[in-house]
Every structure is written in structure tokens, then in C-alpha cells.
Symmetry: C2
Subunit: 410 residues, 2 copies
């Protein structure tokens, strides 16, 4: 079964917001077994909505639309859909009551614009939006389905989970889509492709291989569309085992297991603990770990020692060493790691100190220079990395290097 995702909103076309809805819906449909043939973003423009819908319904069976359901004049999706399906808008008492109650809890009066939100096309099935004022809508025509959802991400997510996913599974006879991604590191994409060419050529026709390169990492994804899920998942596992035998030194793990997730699992299963001291990464390193549920089992403390005083007072870095070697130095990186390992009472510690830019660089230490320190029960050391020229790039790369450096030295 094939689908099209249409996200509506001028704010997408001018780049004011990042279209995360398309990604979420893609993942959701793939899990269900629905192939996403195309994703399209268009403006709040009735003509464009109609022509895109015509095209989507000609090529695919399922169309998921988000956006343009708000109470204001720039929101035209609902009126356009009503005309598209030759249906008139009718007042839905249940929607009105719920919106009145939802607004009442926030102390907001129900007005004419909210009344407008309770008007829905007579021909659609209303999908209850428990988290907002715009209901979702489910339309059917010739066995095909068009779903319209609000653009507010968490409202869309709840409607997908609570209504759209179960209804699609019920309405269509869906097969499985299987994706599995092996993470490799240390072999450049072109060299890797040469080494695994014979394996790639011998892959069963049902499996599609994709290369996903990133700095120092190439991810290899095997995909199969609309298949029997269990037998194909097993087939993919077997192929990846053969691949592992060809490039044993390069296999880092599988997706759903980023390096920080691998560390997270190791710390929990080995009952070890971690603290981090950050200068240039400014909290990002701590945030990578604390984003994962269960981090409180091993993550003791993070210190963002941005000022020299914080390095000295909180982490016990030697003031003379800062004066002698500079805050961005091997010595300070090591002392920061050892300091936070001590004050955080943890087994392992990571530190970062560098020049994120745009200011602060010099000929000897240009923007992007980052010292990463590691402290372990066996001792401590630091490594210098050049992490690029752009502030956010430096922060992201230093964070990634630091996590990988600890992983390689556990």
C-alpha cells in the first residue's frame, strides 16, 4: 500500500520551521507497513492543495495531510477539503463541547473563531483531538483514504497513535516493511563499497542496500518493502552476520544503538557511573546522556565550567596551569576530567575545553581547537581534535568525539 504525505503551511516553504511532522509520519507509516512514495510541502493555497491532492490520490492509496486547521483566516485546509469532497460544513456539538471545556480549563472564553473550529465536513469521520482545538478528519473515496491532521506536532503525534494508526491497520490489509541499519566506522565509503562488493552483489533481490555516510561513520541499511516481516528480518540478520565477517574491525553496532546509547547500556549493566565537565560543548554532552530514560542510574554530575573561576572553584583546576597553558590545553582538559570525576564521585569522566568561535581563536589555537579529557579508574589523558569552523559544528563535533573517545577507552 502506497501513501503520500502533504504538509501545508507557508512557514515550511520559507524555512521558518523545520518540517518534523513529515519525518514522524514517515516513521509511523513504515512501522505499519505503508510505503511512503512521496512527501510534499505546499503553501496555504487552495488551488495547490487541490492539484496536489489530485496527484496524490492518482498515484497512492493513502494521503496524510497536516496543517492549516487553525482558527484564523490563513488556515484554509478544512474549507478546501470540504469543497474537494463536495461536502458542506456542519456544526459538531461534541467537538464544540470539548473545545469549550479545554479552553475553560485555561480560563479562555469560547468565541466565534472556536465555533468555526467545531464546523466539520459532513462526509468525514471526526478524529477526537484530546490535546487541541482542531479535530482530525478521515475521508474515504473509492477505497482510498485522506486524513487531515493539525500541524501542531504533539497534537499530530497523539492523533496518529490514537486514531490513524489503528484505523489504517483496520481499513487496509498491510504487509510489513523492514529496515535494519549497521553502523560502521573507520573505512571510507568508496573503500567500504569495494570491500563488500561481492556480498552486495549476492544479496537476495528482496533486500535493498543503502549507504549513509557521515563524518567517520558509514551506516549500511538493508530494507525490504511489503514482505513477510519475520522471515525477512531473519534474512537481514543472516546477511549482516556475513557482512560482519568481511569487515569485523569496522562494525560499531546497529542503529537504535548510537554510541551514547551503547555507553548508556554499558554503564547500567556494569553498574558504573559517569560525570562530565564541559567548557566549549556547554551542556550538550550532559544533555546527550540525560536525554535517555534511565540516565539517572549512572549519570552523577555535569559541570559547565565556562569561566576560569568555575574551573578553579568547582573542579579544582590549578589556576597557575590555566595561566601557563591556557584554558584550552591538555593540562586543563585532564584536570577538568579528574576534577569532575572526583566531585561527581563517579567511575568515569569526560571533559571538553575548546574554542567554539566565532571569537577567541588565535594562530596557535584557531577556532575549532578542542581538548577532550578522559578520566578512568586506571588513569587519565587528553586528546586534541580540530572540530571545524562554525560554532554549532564545533559544539556538535566535539560532543561526538568526546563520546566516541570514552567508548574507545572503557
Amino acid at each position: 500500500m502506497k501513501s503520500t504525505i502533504i504538509t501545508i503551511g507557508d512557514e515550511i516553504l520559507i524555512g521558518q520551521i523545520l518540517d518534523t511532522n513529515s519525518r514522524y509520519i514517515s516513521q509511523s507509516l513504515n512501522r505499519l507497513g505503508v510505503v511512503v512514495a512521496e512527501r510534499t510541502s505546499i503553501g496555504d493555497n487552495a488551488e495547490q492543495i487541490v492539484s496536489t491532492l489530485d496527484r496524490a490520490l492518482a498515484a497512492t492509496d493513502i494521503v496524510i495531510i497536516t496543517g492549516g486547521l487553525g482558527p484564523t483566516k490563513d488556515d484554509i485546509t478544512k474549507h478546501t477539503l470540504a469543497r474537494y469532497f463536495d461536502s458542506e460544513l456542519v456544526y459538531n456539538e461534541q467537538v464544540a463541547e470539548f473545545v469549550r471545556e479545554l479552553l475553560g480549563r485555561r480560563g479562555i472564553a469560547f468565541n466565534d473563531l472556536n465555533r468555526g473550529q467545531a464546523m466539520v465536513p459532513a462526509c468525514c469521520t471526526v478524529l477526537h483531538n484530546a490535546h487541541g482545538t482542531a479535530p482530525g478528519m478521515w475521508f474515504e473515496r473509492d477505497g482510498k483514504v485522506v486524513v487531515s491532521l493539525p500541524g501542531v506536532p504533539f497534537e499530530m503525534v497523539h492523533l496518529m497513535e490514537d486514531a490513524v494508526e489503528p484505523m489504517l491497520s483496520e481499513h487496509f490489509d498491510l504487509k510489513a516493511i523492514v529496515h535494519r541499519t549497521m553502523i560502521t566506522s573507520g573505512i571510507a565509503e568508496s573503500i567500504l563499497a569495494e570491500r563488500i562488493a561481492a556480498w552486495e552483489d549476492a544479496l537476495p533481490k528482496v533486500l535493498h542496500l543503502a549507504y549513509l555516510p557521515a563524518p567517520n561513520v558509514v551506516r549500511l541499511r538493508l530494507s525490504a518493502y511489503e514482505v513477510d516481516g519475520e522471515s525477512v528480518a531473519q534474512m537481514i540478520d543472516e546477511q549482516f552476520e556475513r557482512l560482519r565477517a568481511i569487515i569485523p574491525e569496522a562494525v560499531v553496532g546497529f542503529e537504535g544503538a548510537t554510541v551514547e546509547q551503547l555507553l548508556h547500556n554499558i554503564f547500567i549493566s556494569n553498574n558504573k557511573t559517569l560525570s562530565v565537565a564541559e567548557s566549549c560543548t556547554g551542556g550538550n554532552l550532559a544533555a546527550k546522556f540525560t536525554a535517555m530514560a534511565g540516565a539517572s542510574q549512572y549519570f552523577h554530575a555535569g559541570v559547565v565550567s565556562y569561566s576560569n573561576e568555575a574551573k578553579i572553584d568547582i573542579l579544582g583546576v590549578n589556576a597557575d596551569d590555566i595561566a601557563r597553558y591556557g584554558a584550552v590545553s591538555e593540562s586543563v582538559a585532564i584536570q577538568m576530567a579528574e576534577g569532575v570525576r572526583r566531585v561527581g564521585q563517579s567511575d568515569y569522566a569526560i571533559s571538553t575545553t575548546g574554542i567554539a568561535g566565532p571569537g577567541g581563536g588565535s594562530a596557535a589555537k584557531p577556532v575549532g581547537t578542542v581538548w577532550i579529557g578522559i578520566a578512568t579508574p586506571k588513569g587519565s589523558f587528553a586528546v586534541m581534535k580540530n572540530c571545524g569552523t562554525d560554532r554549532q559544528q564545533v559544539i556538535d563535533r566535539a560532543t561526538a568525539y568526546a563520546i566516541k573517545l570514552l567508548y574507545d577507552n572503557l
Copy 2:
């Protein structure tokens, strides 16, 4: 002048990656004065690439394509474009030399696959990619332009800046696109729309108003497409001044000025300093400030006191109070803020302590319960907020609330 953006890659359609390229290119084209009429993401599929290109060239004058230019078999964009433009692939010595040199620096041998990357359609203008092995390509037909760029985001960004933007400005006679966004807070979207209805109805026809609601914030954007930039920018300023007179209490500022950016500017211009102590936000609060260039002028220290020991040892929180009230409590939030204000030697401090979930909740303190503490030269206090049910949502909302709470209490 109208354009279409096409991003190619199965990894987009299955939701494995977030399509940030489309957003970047949208912003870039808008700055140049090129209207983005549609954005489309399709798979690595020759038929789909051809039909999408046909449609894009029929409707618009400029087509920007990213993705599918790698050295491996799943990358088919270049071959498809060569056939589309009836052009054969020819070996480009300059590209080959550059790739050989680039790989050499990394100690990687130049192989047949890299040689394939130096093959380019004879009819195109090659765009030098200083940061990767796949060159960009510029095609022209009947005065219309098709540009193909690699999908690796930073390679695409450099090619847009260094080649595509100046070449488009040279090739087309472009007018201006103007967007300006006012940020309001504290008035619900439907109530706001009622209050400003007369102003909205009286807007000059060239200006388009959009409402962009988010939790506790409604952004109002005025846009004008393909106009004389200077006079329209002035017109927008005048309209926003009229609007400010209607809703003076709700105007927070303008986009390009998020609340953390406003704080950033205030701290720098008033020569005040900040430290933060985080439990549930786990480094995100520090990261929001340290992401901004110049943060080192006022951001002294962040402490991610995830464990109770870290709260006690680093921040000086009273162990008895943790036992009596719990780590997620008014008393601990205040002591964390005061503690980090002291050890960070700063004028202001923010703290967060809460239950991000999915575990750790109770009937009295469900997941999402967050205490936010503020310490200032005049004293300290804490506020409790329920920040939702999903771990990342709780982290993001608590971070946003904490920043706003400090802003409101400076």
C-alpha cells in the same frame, strides 16, 4: 521567480533522517528573492526523479535538487540527470585531481568508485565542492535552471553560498521577499485574532498575515513576495507599530530574538552574569545559552546535578531537606539556584529539578512535575510547572519555562 526543491533519498521517505536541507535551501532562496512554490521528497528512483522534474520545470523556473550523488550503487541522481538532459558523462580531470588530493590528505586511496564521481554530464556547469567528493552541477534549459547538489548538509551549504546563490542572482532579475515575525505571549490565538481583526482587515494587500501558535506564544508573521524590499520593510515596521499599540502587554519581541537571545543581550549590555543548576533538563538549559556566540562574556557555570550527592557536594543543598521534601521540591530548587549562584559567582541563577520520566513518577509528583528556581541579587524563589508526559517534551518545556521565568523576573 518561482522554484521547486527536490530532496532525493529513501532515508527521507522512511523517516531515518530529518530533511534539514529543504529548510536551509528555502531560507537561502527566500533571502535571494526566489519564491519556493513546493518542496518534494522522493526516493532513489529514476522514474520518479524524471516525472517530478518534468512537473517542477512546468510549474517553476528554478529547481534545486539534493541527494543521490554518492559513489555507490544506490546513488542514481547523476545518471538520471544525464539522460534527462540527453548528455553523456565525461571524465572531468579537475574534479578527479581534487578528489584524489582530498582523499590523499585522509590517507585514502583513489579508486574506481571515486573515478566514477569525476564523471559529469557534458552539458552541465560543474560547481566545485571544496568539502567533499561529489561536485555540484548546474543545468540550463529554455532559460530555466536545474541545480543538483550533494545531500551531505555542510557540503550543500557551502555550495549554495559559494556558487548557487551568486549564480542565481546573476542569471535572474530577482526582486525581494520580506518576512518579519512579531512574537506575542499570554493571549490565546483565537482571542488574539478577535482583538486584532480590524487591524488585520486594514492591512495593505501586498502584506500576508500568518498566525504561528506554540505553547504560550503566538507568532505573527507579515510576508510580502517579489516586492521592492526597502519600502515594504518600512511598511511592515509601521504596521507592527500599529499592532503594538493594540496589544502592548503581549508583545515579547521579534523573531531573531528568542527569549534566550533577549536575555543574552541584556546580560552582555548590563554586564551581569549567569549560572544554571540543572537536574531534569540535564544540560539543555546551559546549552541554550552557550550555543550563542559571546556567551562566555556572562555565562559562568552550569552544574548538572543529577545525583543527590552532586546536589549536596557541588551545590551545597541540605541533605536533610532532600530527605524531607524530596529532590523535586521547592526547597531543593531554591537551594540549587542559590548554590550555583554562589559557586558560579554570578548575579543570576536558574535551577530545574523535576521528573522527566518515563520512570520516577508518583501520584503526588507525576512525570512532568518540575520545580524551577530563580536566584537574583534581590532574593530567590521557585515555581512548579507541569511540563507534560513525554521525556523529551518535559526537558524542552522545562527549559523554555525556566528561561522565560528568569526573563520575567530580571
